[in-house]
Amino acid sequence: MADPADGTDERAGERTGGAAEPAPWERPPPGRARGFRAVTGFVFLCSLALAMATWVSISRPFDPGQAEAAAVRPDPEAARAAAALPAHPGSIVALTYHGVDDRDGAQSTLTRERFGSHMAALDAAGYETVRLRDVLDLLEGRPVRLPPRALLLTFDDGRLTDWTNADPVLAEHGFTATAFLATGRIVEPGTPSYYLSTKQVRALADTGRWDFGSHSHALDDRVRIPGDVGAPLPNRIVAGGRPETLDAWRARVRADLERSQDFFRRTLGRGAAAFSYPFGEAAGNDRRAAAALPGLLRDAGFRAAFTGEGVPAGHVDAIAADAPPYRVDRIGVRRTTSAAGLLELIRAAVPAPPPHALAALPWRGDGVACARDGADLRVTGDRYGACVLGGTGDGGPNTSRWRDYRVTASVSGLSPRSGAVVAVRDGAGAGRPGRVEVVVGDGAVVARRQVGDRAPVPLGRTRLDGRDGGDGARDVAIEVRGGRLTVAVEGGRPLRAALTGGSGPPIDRGGVRLGITARGGRTVTFHDPTFVPLRGR
């Protein structure tokens, strides 16, 4: 048989024709010293292990899975805050998140537990999320069915944690969200990154929970602007040592928006319809640029643009049909924002329902003492001051939907040394600086426009006769409807004035103040002050 190890050996010598060396199939395998073999084998195995480990580490794809939603303890404070939240049919609260991560200490990054507590609190307060298209329908005047407590969750930047940590929590609560991606940051699948990969973007889209918008392509880092550093989107930046021209700004922004839309077309098959301003900044160092920005966004296919990146410093309104589509405001959330704090921010943003009996509202004295007495409100002060509307956080209700209404009351305590001051369309609760004050004195009624601490602008004046109904009280009726103010005070001729025109901000919305102007300690009583909303203009 052919096996070299068996019985053909005796013929080998003959076959090899007498060669000195044995035939190759008869040669014993060469021996090597045991020690040498052990060493080479050991070194080989070590280097193999090293090579395998290195190979795994360099070719392992970075593709973190989703984390479990963190357990959330019920928060009694948040429950109390939730109870104070009114329903607000027809408007949508928009929140801005960034990252959700336990290890990242950035101010914009919430811990998983805190984010979970936010979502739990919103869920418990009866909030339901709406889709981005519902917001666009609302802004563009199409009919849309909104839940009584409508919520739009947004996540700026396109951080990896949208996928790893935020999405599971949303799934738990049945929420949807919109991610505004800084598309230039989105990486190829498997690449280690702080931001999402295209694979994760597609995976988020496939969950059905996520809509996508643009956060610019690469304009999300501050750059040099003349005299400062600033957001590159709304500012004319320093390019080549000098400020760029407006045309250069326009070309730069247009190109960036186009690249961002390209990303969406490539990755998700269609462009994005919404935009969120990096840093929430829609205006910068050039008014013309700020004015041109909505046009550029519209040209790039964006139908709405969101501001509101951080915790609001000023007034925020929930999104209503009349919100400006390229300045849609959101409530930004930081890691320090507790669930209760978040609900308080929401309460300040959602429109308060119009009241009826004003005396029942939580009044707070601003330079005066306010005392409720049944259906009456007594205001005591020694100079000028008013009772203003307070709330849980003393921020007062959001009165931005209080527009056309009539306030009636019977005022007593009027004297030469004390007058009643009724302010309507007080912008303090509506994000406007001005208000209209009607001063009912002993012998005259004065209407004036008051903006901040500036000198008041008189709107009209009418005299009062001595008749006061016999009980020392005068009935007062103040009506604001559109641009007109009508004041009727018992014992005087009606006073009419126009609120439009003139300089200064428009006075078109806001709540009521009930105050006093006096010399020495005096008290004015508003009997049964009543608020009657008027429909239409």
Partner: protein
């Protein structure tokens, strides 16, 4: 009988070590498969580089997987008539040795003959031939004299025409088949589809120096891995000239075309074995590899000779590779993917090596994945070697892989000089100076195996 089903010859393989090597080879394959899977799942980075990685990774994996499925042809005990064709040129006394050793093979005497062809030798080769032939009964040795030097292909063709045996076994004059190997080799022809069977060739002078050790390891891995895999697909692309058998029926119609093959207007000299296998495949025959039919051959022991041999092989590979690719899609469709990848990746490999070495010099990134992958594959070869053989040469399979890859840019030179038919005969210190004579270099070194 201590017969192993898959591991020929070396019975002293430490079973435990071999098992460990098998586990590690499997682990390396799994790792490469995982890497290829990651590449496919993520499709990141440069599409061209990813594609190259996937193709080459898949090719290497398929070699291991197919080789694991390889079984040598079954021993059915057939003994067709066999003619061993030995072309000889200036062999002198060695030709007699070859004749004796061929006739000493274990095979029925009436069915084995040796055809020695004197390719116009200028020495006493013919005399030695006749003397040796005279020692055997008529019909056992057939001596053919071409009268002039006409080259190896012509000598082989003349030998084939001189005999009517069913099976033609080609043995290089410096090859030495094991006693039972021809009997083994013909078993493959029990399958009527089979047109050629390649044996397994070891390096006889393996222990000579580092170069021969690396070649020995390389030969062994190529046969046991690449030829095994090709055999599973039924298309061994090169039934090596060292030791292979062809069915007469398969090569008779191709003989003239093969003998006078022209490429780019030049008569082809080197690469006779690959060219013949290629034509057999093209005619629709199956080619197989028999790991139990063993022969020993001498490998070049000098770097100059080695490089000339490599240059010839690369020339013939770059000629026959595309020719094979041009017909394999219809002659043996299932071998198309591996032949295609083999040809394309083989053509690209010098560029990839040069790029990998030059890119970091030009300020680019060091292609860590490429070199680490190469490192792992080299380790896989070494472990495979160690798994099958325990002769201490496994480490040379590892080192040799880098050695061979480092010289893959030689392919560019081979392609540039593909029309140059010289065998590289200026190696005057080792053989007689006969300029422009188309003879295999390793034929000249027939007696040089142990002279260092």
């Amino acid at each position: 009988m201590r017969r192993r089903p898959r591991l020929p010859a070396r019975p002293r393989t430490g079973r435990l070590t071999a098992l460990g090597a098998l586990v590690l080879v499997t682990a390396i394959c799994a790792l490469i498969a995982w890497h290829v899977g990651v590449k496919l799942a993520y499709l990141r980075g440069d599409l061209l580089l990813s594609g190259y990685t996937v193709l080459v990774g898949g090719y290497v994996l398929s070699r291991f997987a197919l080789a694991a499925c390889y079984r040598p042809p079954r021993d059915v005990g057939i003994t067709p008539s066999v003619a061993i064709v030995v072309p000889a040129y200036n062999e002198g006394e060695a030709v007699a040795r070859t004749i004796h050793s061929c006739l000493g093979l274990v095979y029925p005497e009436d069915r084995l003959e040796v055809v020695v062809v004197n390719d116009g030798s200028s020495d006493d080769t013919w005399t030695h031939m006749e003397e040796a032939a005279a020692r055997y009964p008529d019909g056992r040795v057939r001596c053919v004299d071409l009268g002039e030097n006409r080259g190896k292909r012509a000598a082989m063709a003349a030998g084939i025409r001189a005999t009517s045996a069913e099976i033609l076994v080609f043995v290089d004059s410096d090859s030495m088949p094991a006693p039972g190997s021809v009997r083994r080799l013909v078993q493959g022809f029990a399958d009527p589809e089979v047109g050629a069977v390649s044996g397994l060739t070891y390096v006889r002078n393996a222990e000579h120096n580092v170069l021969t050790r690396m070649q020995a390891a390389r030969y062994y891995v190529s046969f046991q891995l690449l030829k095994s895999a090709e055999s599973v697909l039924g298309a061994v692309t090169c039934c090596s000239g060292c030791f292979a058998a062809y069915r007469r029926e398969a090569i008779a119609p191709l003989l003239d075309a093969w003998e006078h093959q022209r490429f780019l207007g030049v008569e082809c000299t080197y690469g006779d074995d690959r060219a013949l296998t290629n034509r057999v495949l093209k005619a629709g025959w199956t080619t197989r590899y028999d790991a139990r039919a063993e022969a020993w051959t001498d490998a070049p022991d000098r770097y100059r000779k080695f490089f000339r041999q490599q240059l010839r092989w690369k020339k013939s590979w770059s000629r026959e590779g595309p020719l094979l690719l041009a017909h394999i899609w219809r002659s043996r469709t299932r071998a198309l993917p591996s032949v295609a990848v083999q040809t394309i990746a083989g053509m690209l490999s010098p560029l990839v090596v040069l790029y990998g070495l030059l890119a970091p010099l030009a300020g680019g990134r060091f292609p860590m994945v490429y070199f680490l992958g190469l490192y792992l594959v080299a380790m896989g070869y070494a472990l495979l070697y160690r798994m099958l053989r325990n002769d201490g040469l496994w480490i040379y399979a590892f080192v040799g892989t880098f050695f061979y890859v480092a010289f893959s840019p030689q392919l560019l030179w081979a392609i540039a000089r593909i029309r140059d038919g010289k065998w590289g005969t200026r190696d005057g210190d080792a053989e007689p100076v006969v300029p422009a004579v188309p003879r295999a270099l390793h034929v000249y070194s027939a007696t040089g195996g142990g002279d260092g």
